[in-house]
Point group: C2
Chain length 323, copies 2
């Protein structure tokens, strides 16, 4: 297979690919989870596929926000866009180091590079009118009121208890990957590229310049934008479950092997997929296929290789075929 014929795949790593879901976020836990993930990724690279990795940053950016809050009397806190860029450096570094090691273990000498990525959103995005994404530490009611007055934070009550208040920020739709062309050039020169960490740093265009904003971008939707910009053949979204399911968590649960775009749209509209978890993944898949992608795959990390071969996970394709 020559270079021109190689398939390009964008793989979006979920939170459990980067740290233990029940851990405290220590570096040992992070490195162990990342090491395991990179072994899977290295096998996909060995199969002859060009790979671009994207990843979330929820726990990591949460930890930075908590640290900033605790130290605010001594060190001025940085805005959310800058914190997001910090997590791109942090997670990108750990991934590039672990992935290079896993590739060497597979006998491959493929360069790995992390690109700090900005993603353009529209200042007119309806998400700015209704922030929904909880972020950072929990506050007491009086702290919450003070933060709202002094900093304009939108705060929501989450559950019960004394410290039940949390900041929510907008999650606007990603429109354009600023570093898209650079990433494309690196992919075609046989790099494994790590990009769009945490969904990318959200920026708006303002009179020809870019300006960071206080928001977070869904990493699966950003991954779709990147995959479409690269003209990738496949978008693979890794999550906690092997397959997308209907009636998830009920006795009637049905795991889906294959799903057409039309079916996916219908189920999404029918509310089968919750907005905080499977919803954006299905939406990303639908958009990717609408933008020329061949297939989207949703599966778990340990089934990634089989799913790429069509033997596991949920395959979302343009037209339903007999299974």
């Amino acid at each position: 297979m020559n270079a021109k014929e190689k398939e390009t795949i964008v793989i979006a790593l979920g939170g459990n690919a980067l740290s233990s879901p029940h851990g405290k976020g220590s570096i040992e836990e992070q490195m162990e989870a990342i090491g395991r993930s990179c072994q899977q990724i290295a096998r996909i690279v060995r199969s002859g596929t060009r790979v671009v990795l994207t990843h979330g940053n929820g726990p990591q950016v949460g930890q930075i926000l908590i640290q900033q809050e605790q130290a605010k009397g001594v060190v001025p806190p940085l805005p959310l866009d800058v914190c997001g860029a910090m997590t791109q450096g942090q997670i990108g570094y750990l991934l590039q180091q672990a992935l290079a090691q896993a590739l060497r273990a597979e006998g491959l000498k493929v360069p790995v590079v992390t690109v700090v990525t900005q993603v353009v959103v529209s200042s007119g995005d309806p998400a700015f009118k209704e922030p929904t994404k909880p972020i950072g530490p929990f506050y007491s009611k009086s702290e919450a009121e003070w933060l709202h007055k002094s900093k304009g934070y939108v705060i929501k009550r989450m559950g019960s208890g004394h410290r039940a208040y949390r900041r929510v920020v907008p999650s606007p739709y990603p429109r354009e990957i600023v570093e898209g062309r650079t990433i494309c050039r690196l992919v075609t020169s046989e790099h494994v590229v790590i990009a769009c960490g945490g969904g990318g740093v959200p920026v708006i265009r303002e009179g020809g310049r870019l300006r960071g904003i206080e928001a977070v971008i869904d990493k699966d939707l950003a991954s779709e934008r990147l995959a479409s910009a690269l003209g990738a053949q496949a978008l693979m979204i890794l999550t906690d479950v092997e397959r997308v399911a209907l009636h998830f968590g009920t006795p009637e649960q049905i795991n889906l092997e294959r799903l057409s775009v039309e079916e996916a749209k219908r189920y999404l509209a029918a509310g089968e997929f919750p907005s905080g978890s499977m919803g954006p993944k299905i939406e990303a898949a639908i958009r990717f296929l609408g933008n020329g992608g061949e297939r989207a795959i949703i599966t778990s990390l340990d089934r990634a290789q089989e799913a790429l071969a069509g033997q596991a996970g949920t395959q979302i394709v343009r037209v339903q075929q007999p299974t």
Copy 2:
């Protein structure tokens, strides 16, 4: 001038190019300083030179360490290599955004990219036997003793007062830029690349893999390694003063316009340049010329463009010419 004939220059930005020396480290101060720096850099790009930017991270990594210390009861602190990678994301993002804006203001559409950079050091480097580089918060004597016992930190007393103790870490010599080839490819495809932030994340080779270590690399020495790896014609180190001086800060101070490698070596050996500031800059210049570089320039940010034209700063060249 066609692309092949273009000169490549590595420009090392000092701390005052990134933040106000007397400020508190707020984002507004950082963005203002970075904006100013990028105007100068953009003019150099406009002159037809290929530019690679490196930068320090002292204040930024110090702030992260203080935040980690304050929040250590809630969030597990990350090791120094990971903190360094975080500052690469942070500063790289701010630089790439400000530089893209400054380039557009000059009528240029040049892509800017930040590459998370690892730099290999030797585990046998003598620096590991004698840590010298102070880093992070100040501690009281009892805290210092506890940190030494529990974490093995080397702590030194710095001056007087109650909280006069600080951790010191090794500053080993940079040997190889792990992402050197990737950076080279980006430079030849007309990118302005931001790399080696904070001197790069220090890693050692361990049985074929890389492992991050608790150390910091001098950013000027790392910039030399990068400039030599790229085959750059020039290395420009920006600092607080316009020119290198002999007898600095005395009535006999002599500012130097031009310096041969031999002279530079002699003055360095004679102790003219302190190890914490001008010393490594002179050493980087000497090494760069020894490794095939044409000239090294040490000057201040506001004289950068003139210095590149040979009309300001201190020019260090292989053979002394009549001035």
